[in-house]
């Protein structure tokens, strides 16, 4: 029995007059990794950003419905939505504070007790495998970490508000093979606890980690389904062409 956490109904997004997403209808399964693939400019990032309404911060306009556990996200307080649906960006974004202060930035705002902050920092750094690397340097400026470490810190920071879903927009595109493998393994661990939606340009990455795949083109979902079926037996011609093209 599939458990659905997130469901979009006729989701449309536009920037001014420009329509970017045209009637997206799809489901996201709990504790699965869903990869979103598709050619550049097709609206993958826009789709991801609309799932926690950050797209509105970029001037985008959303129509249609998105249900998070059967509640329309438009009816939820924005703050609750964004706590439940966390986001990690393409280039690692760390705040110009120490590692420790990056980690407590959000919990502090949400009024976590002082005594609990330490635990939150340690627990979430451990989940991203960063703890052993930085445990003696928690007071170090986060900007001094390597790119891969910064990205893992960004993920750990996103976990500090106890999200249900984590959105990742090409999180490895600025990283080398070793760091990419690191993050992929971590995501495979994290999916036991969280639902993960990841945009990627890298088909082999989708193959390695995704359970489900969504193929988008020109603002629409062309094909979606189980990873194996999609990659081995795509139904749609456009999917076939894209997969062929990306493999060469």
């Amino acid at each position: 029995m599939k458990e659905i956490v997130l469901k979009t109904e006729d989701l449309c997004v536009s920037y001014g007059q420009k329509k970017i997403l045209k009637k997206i209808n799809t489901l996201f399964e709990k504790n699965k990794i869903t990869a979103i693939i598709g050619p550049s400019g097709c609206g993958k990032s826009t789709f991801l950003k609309s799932l926690n309404r950050t797209v509105e911060e970029y001037g985008g306009n959303m129509e249609g419905k998105i249900h998070l556990n059967n509640v329309n996200i438009m009816d939820m307080p924005l703050q609750n939505l964004r706590k439940s649906v966390g986001m990690v960006f393409q280039l690692p974004i760390v705040f110009p504070f120490s590692i420790y202060n990056n980690m407590i930035y959000a919990p502090k705002y949400f009024g976590e007790k002082k005594e609990k902050l330490n635990d939150i920092v340690i627990k979430n750094l451990k989940k991203t495998g960063l703890y052993d690397e930085v445990k003696d340097n928690l007071k170090m400026m986060a900007t001094k970490l390597s790119g891969g470490q910064q990205q893992r810190l960004a993920i750990a920071r996103c976990l500090t508000v106890n999200p249900e879903i984590i959105l990742l927009d090409e999180p490895c595109s600025a990283l080398d093979i070793k760091n990419t493998a690191n993050i992929e393994n971590m995501l495979l661990e994290l999916k036991n606890e969280y639902t993960i939606i990841i945009v990627t340009h890298n088909l082999s990455q989708a193959k390695r980690i995704a359970d489900n795949v969504i193929f988008m083109d020109e603002g629409q979902i062309i094909e979606e389904g189980n990873q194996n079926e999609m990659f081995d037996n795509p139904v749609n011609v456009r999917t076939k062409e894209y997969l062929m093209y990306m493999r060469n």
Binding site: E56, E57, R82, G86, V161
Partner: protein, 274 residues
């Protein structure tokens, strides 16, 4: 290819050298000329002698310049910061943003003498204020708002836009993000812009001539007192042929003051790194 390279490189070096030499040249020249005049009395006494300014010092002018500069820096800095924050983080309507930006650029391009005339017309003639510290301050504020806002906007965009959205994506509201992330993050640039704004205000002569700077006045006690100001005092000393020596002294004091303010702003901006 090679020749081009050499020409280009030497051109860069020569430009660099010119800038450094001119800067230090100007500074050293006034240091040399001014140091003979600038004594403790010069700094701490009011102008005296006949004609006025041939003896004594420039204390009221220092205070007038400092007060009007810092006050307009404070008001203009706050307004400029708010304007830039609005433009970068709150204004999602591209059209409005463009209009505001054009307005700021236009305002920044208006010659200062016209700003002075505007201040005179509105504050002195229109509102019936007398020539005073407050009129000077408000006029200077109008002059430096676009100057500060445009600089801060650039700094905020460069340092904080992505981090701002990242913070929002954690469920944290805009206001908290701006106070706890954006401003600390851009403090360095905010302080440098502010410093430049204050210095720009303190150096301006045209806008204050019409609105409140006078040939002789004490240190202002209240906002409605007229003031002396270093650039205007300098102008009078030279223009009326009163004393070129004293003019050098005044210039020297003004340069040092401006330098100090820049340094202080720089230090406040880099406070956390220390």
């Amino acid at each position: 290819m090679k020749i081009k390279d050499i020409i280009f490189k030497s051109w860069i070096y020569i430009s660099g050298i010119i800038v450094v030499v001119v800067t230090f040249g100007v500074f050293l020249y006034f240091l040399y000329k001014g140091i003979k005049v600038v004594t403790l009395e010069f700094i701490l006494e009011a102008p005296g002698g006949m004609p006025l300014g041939t003896e004594g010092g420039v204390f009221p002018a220092i205070m007038g310049s400092l007060m009007s500069g810092l006050l307009s820096g404070l008001i203009g800095g706050l307004l400029g910061l708010c304007t830039s924050i609005y433009l970068v983080f709150y204004c999602n309507n591209k059209k409005n943003q463009k209009y505001m930006l054009h307005a700021l650029q236009l305002l920044a391009g208006i010659p200062s003498v016209i700003i002075g005339l505007f201040g005179y017309t509105v504050l002195i003639v229109g509102l019936g204020l007398n020539k005073s510290l407050i009129s000077v301050t408000l006029t200077l504020t109008v002059m430096i708002i676009p100057f500060i806002a445009l600089r801060m906007k650039k700094a905020l965009e460069e340092t904080s836009k992505d981090q701002f959205i990242c913070s929002l994506s954690l469920g944290i509201p805009k206001g908290y993000t701006i106070i706890h992330l954006v401003i600390p993050n851009a403090l360095k640039y905010i302080m440098t812009s502010l410093g430049l704004g204050i210095v720009f205000a303190m150096g301006a002569t045209a806008p204050i001539m019409f609105t409140g700077a006078v040939i002789i006045a004490g240190v202002p006690n209240k906002l409605t007192d007229p003031i002396m100001a270093l650039p205007y005092h300098l102008y009078v000393l030279v223009n009326e042929g009163i004393s070129i020596e004293m003019a050098y002294g005044t210039a020297f004091v003004l340069i040092v003051l401006v330098l100090l303010i820049n340094l202080i702003c720089h230090f406040i901006g880099n406070f956390e790194d220390v």
